[in-house]
Amino acid sequence: MKKIKMGKTLMAMVLVLSLSLLFTACGNTDEETGDSDTTEQTKITIVGSTSVGPHMDALTKMYNDSVDGSISFTVEQVGSGQGIQAVSDGSADIGMSSRELKEDEGPMEEFQLCTDGISIIVNSANPVEDITMEQLKAIYMGEITNWSELGGEDAEINLYTRESTSGTRGAFEELVLGKDANDEQIVIDETICAAVQNSNGQLGQGVESDPYAIGYLSMGLVENYSIKTLSIDGVEATTENIENGSYVLSRPFLLLTLTTPEGNVSDFLNWLISNADAREYLEENGFIV
């Protein structure tokens, strides 16, 4: 009968553990609502871009430290598109987007957190240093297919891109590919690419390990990978050049709320936009404030 007792004790322990969970849950359920009108709100859900997300995590921690607060932030990095959607349907208090809203999205309140550049990245062994905007567009339209056309080796260019709902990709398409004859946004043809990567990180890693790769990445994340950045029309990809306007590939990091923010959400947003430490953090990490 010993083994039955052991089994029963185990099960009892599991049940006790789960029941105690439930009790903590009951204790806390009054506090959470997704409703951004409640000033008592101590749980804020932030959903969206994988470019903004990693830094939002750090910023929320800084915020809690600085105001001695105990707001429970949740940052879900699932893509700009989903962030925008989550704000629309109410499942997020704040949305993060690394591109401008499209015409059929919104209306919603927008706050610009900072500006981020998009760097054009290649493998560190690639001899090519500079590229013109026309060449960049031609590459991503499949018109230039060999590195030798750019002064590099005789090898096929491997195009890396993000998934279709990525904010970084959306911004890239807008800024580089532009519109077609019918005034419609041109999108990257995934079938001419070598790989569709699901995140900035995957894209960075891919370019890092493929000598013939080219890709685009949030400027603030470039230093995480051993890759090389191309200059465009002779202009280096730096934050200074974005500030003085000479480097054109930049997009705003937007924070979105469905209606005018109040209470803790409003306090947090204000802190993000005006607090000196927050601004410094963003600058240190390669963004333009």
């Binding site: 553990l17 789960s18 849950a25 204790g27 806390n28 429970s72 949740t74 990180g201």
Partner: protein, 278 residues
């Protein structure tokens, strides 16, 4: 060559092939597992296991993820064990082998074949948006419960079916009702088998990623309520690998994961053997 010689030659070739396959299997497995262990073990320390992550997970530890995983498992089992065992009891002890039982069995079979991403999609939409649970421990647990339900039902059923009929007959002969018999005779005898199913399910939940990615959430803090977003160990591995940062942490967390699931799986086998030894 005589027939006998041919047979022996063929057998030698055949056996050589089998040995080669078995050796290849071992080599491949050891390569994978040792690769992870060797790269990960150096980073596992008491601090690693008991501190919080820093720098987006590139430094620090995995303690909150461990806690979240434990909470996830506890909550999932809370939902799935009564339901799964109840279903097994119904099918083995109560139901007439008719339409309903066939339907339930077919449904359970189908459930076990569904890919985990579809559970994830379901949980994300139904539990997350329709029921408004969002990214939370509760959502993750409900989704995980559906994922392992077939496993619990199947193992519980097997365990109950393997209880000798004599036990039941003896109990009834003594005047007990069906429920009393189940409660006091059948279930206790079936417990080791049921437990092994539970333990296997824990292993499954711990290793699950696709179903939890859009339901459990990715907050790298300890959950303090069931409505909190709570990153589990598997999700931590995915998020880090996905972001292409903190590779040391990825290897280390993977090592922890493999060890935990391995222990769970071995316990399940141990429990099944104990039962057979009865």
């Amino acid at each position: 060559m005589s027939n006998a010689k041919k047979m022996r030659r063929n057998q030698r070739i055949g056996f050589a092939f089998l040995y080669a396959a078995a050796t290849l299997t071992i080599v491949v497995i050891l390569t994978i597992v040792l690769y992870i262990f060797i790269k990960g073990a150096p980073y596992i320390s008491w601090e690693f296991l008991t501190s919080a992550p820093e720098g987006n997970g590139t430094e620090g530890g995995i303690f909150p993820m461990i806690v979240n995983t434990v909470l996830l498992v506890g909550l999932t089992l809370l939902f799935v064990t009564p339901v799964g065992i109840g279903a097994a009891i119904y099918m083995t002890e109560y139901a007439k082998q008719g339409f309903w039982v066939k339907l339930i069995r077919q449904a359970t079979e189908n459930l076990s074949a569904i890919p985990s991403i579809i559970f994830g999609l379901f949980g994300f939409i139904f539990f997350g948006k329709v029921l408004g649970l969002g990214w939370s421990l509760l959502n993750g647990a409900l989704t995980a419960a559906i994922v392992v339900l077939p496993l619990i039902v199947r193992t519980a059923e097997e365990a109950i079916l393997s209880v000798p009929q004599i036990y039941r007959e003896g109990s009834l002969a003594l005047g007990a009702s069906r429920w009393q018999t189940i409660r006091k005779v059948v279930l206790p005898a079936a417990t080791p088998g049921i437990l092994s199913g539970v333990v296997l399910s824990i292993g499954r939940v711990v290793g699950e990623t696709a179903a939890l990615l859009f339901t459990l959430g990715s907050a790298d803090r300890m959950a303090t309520s069931v409505m909190d977003s709570a990153r589990s160990l598997s999700l931590h591995v995915y998020i880090l690998a996905h972001d292409g940062i903190g590779f040391d942490q990825v290897y280390a967390t993977s090592t922890v994961l493999i060890v935990v699931v391995l222990i769970l799986n071995l316990s399940a086998v141990f429990l099944t053997r104990k039962r057979r030894g009865q």
